[in-house]
Symmetry: C2
Subunit: 420 residues, 2 copies
Amino acid sequence: MALVKKPVTGMKEIMPREMEIRAYVQGIIRETYSSFGFTPIETPCLEDINNLCSKQGGENEKLIFKVLKRGEKLNLETAKSEADLTDMGLRYDLTVPLVRFYSNNANDLPVPFKALQMGNVWRADRPQRGRYRQFMQCDIDIFGESSNMAEIELILATTTTLGKIGFKNFEIRINDRRLLKAMSDYAGFDPDKFDNVCIILDKLDKIGLDGVKAELVSEGFEAASVDKYCALFDGTEGSLEGLSKIRATLGDSLDEAVSTNLSEIISSVESVKEADFKMVFDPTLVRGMGYYTGTIFEIAIPEFGGSCGGGGRYDKMVGNFTGTDVPACGFSIGFERIVLLLLESNFRIPGKGEKAAYLVDKDMPKELFAKILKEAMEERKAGKTVLVSKMNKNKKFQKEKLSAEGYTEFKEFYADSYKG
Amino acid sequence: MALVKKPVTGMKEIMPREMEIRAYVQGIIRETYSSFGFTPIETPCLEDINNLCSKQGGENEKLIFKVLKRGEKLNLETAKSEADLTDMGLRYDLTVPLVRFYSNNANDLPVPFKALQMGNVWRADRPQRGRYRQFMQCDIDIFGESSNMAEIELILATTTTLGKIGFKNFEIRINDRRLLKAMSDYAGFDPDKFDNVCIILDKLDKIGLDGVKAELVSEGFEAASVDKYCALFDGTEGSLEGLSKIRATLGDSLDEAVSTNLSEIISSVESVKEADFKMVFDPTLVRGMGYYTGTIFEIAIPEFGGSCGGGGRYDKMVGNFTGTDVPACGFSIGFERIVLLLLESNFRIPGKGEKAAYLVDKDMPKELFAKILKEAMEERKAGKTVLVSKMNKNKKFQKEKLSAEGYTEFKEFYADSYKG
């Protein structure tokens, strides 16, 4: 039973430099989202195991850290399966807990309800570079708003936040699950195989349109249908014109309201946006989660390879808890990716105060030490960071370490010369 | 497998009003401690089960939420005990993880190292009013400082923080484990029963000095010794004079350095303190945790019954990980109690900006809606909170709910009269 110095597999310790950036980004997120009327709420990190394993979470449900029952509830002798041993688990996202929260508290919340959550989630993924088993998610969600006022506000709030952090020249890519369905129907694909079609289309970034074609054919879809399907993506990405073109092609396969909705969102956001970004219609955007029922969207930042957050409408999820559907729409910002990018770009936090280190001789008499403390207290009151530390034998090394921590001013106090 | 609307037993959902206060208090804590040169760090919420069950945590080790092994590591058929089923657990405090962190990273950290941690901890306590199974702890700790510079800075930083939150007229009560030991030895108690003596003395608040006497006697300590012991507490609490008196009485039982150290801490802090509080020598102060090796201290706020945080020196804990002891001293502020008190006293956060709600007719044409959004974006840019929401049928009820959320300004936009 030796003690273990390393953190548990796949989870990271966060050092001072990264903590600073995290606090800064969290501050901007809280402040900006609040100015849009999103109110912070928090739910416990643990959820009832039945809620976590209710098929809302797709693949993530395989990655749950489950908590052992305690006391008399734990009966090793009669336990036949994992389910007998566990009663809760660590949440794998913030959406399931939020929907439970809303179902539990709807009577006390304003309608519509705009929620902001920042919190850790856990997934027992295979550890890999830059992906951890504990990470922070930042979500905004609107319940009780069926119109696209929800999508518009979510996108404006998220992009204003990204702009304040300093991101420019990025894109919000948008699509609709119902458009994806209409395209699949128009091509003549078996309606029961819609999910398979989506899974293959979702690989477009990695395998290209030819790869998608090949995979569809090899999965048994008819070549003529596949050609008809893939032709839909020809010259339709990016602009409102592309959207019009696809709408014209799809004809009766697509409910007019779906494309009107998308074009309203795109033009409303474009006309009032604060940050430097573009709204991009993307008929190939899929988003993994099966719970989406309408619009879906994603942040694409040029500095990243992939997506830096996303969201969409999920009007059916509250109904799983309460029996009555409530319109719901959310946007999750890729907090960990943003922090990583700022860290790697040597980002300097604007307006940071000065940091001074007072190095004090270990033999300093107590009365004189009190005067040094008094000076430090005054400087702190005036907004400065003052570290009071004993002076080490290797003073040069000590100062180097402190410089690396951002200290720029050093004061040395010697017992044989300091008079107070 | 029905879905469960309530949060898991003993854990709470945090509503917008409390979230506001939590964020405010966390902001003051982060800012004030930072101005003293404490640097924020974070460790994973999960720790290796061996670290959690290493007898550092006393009674808390019985309250661990343990995590089930996953995949091939979990073997139900061969599992004979809980230990075979679990490899990690949720941390029950921030001290064990911090000591592990320090042991793992000492080479990369400045000496001395001043850490600030704010994070959730979990204990499977019996649920009771105001005590939850998930709660936030806020700790500051100094590693590598053997002199009382550590205690002085910890107490100054914590009290300055309490002062900024608005607390006045409180006390920091201070004692030393070595003084407790000297008193027990002086009375003639069996040295092996020192822990029992402490456990009984710790009940003083509840059972009074007569109760302590009675319990010591009933536990088999000699009446003469018990009288000698309890006489030590007569007129020695509170002042530096009390400390001198106890030192004089104890004579050779007490290392002179221990009382000098206490009196230096008390007078240094008194001479430079920022907040409105008193340093109080308290020879009856025990603090539960067995890992303390020297000074111990506690915050007493008149508004509370009991303690509102505490800490002390634990010079032997790093050695459990690395084989080499490192001086360490920490102070934990009672975050949840502070938040509860502010909530119950209807605390208003100073300097909060205005909140306006724009209620928009659901039939508002999109071009006009864009103008409303534009106005909201301008106001938000200027620092105001602006909620854009559809106008509900029951407008009066909607406004009441929003007023309760702190909205003071309402603008109504009707499709048939708004011209942009």
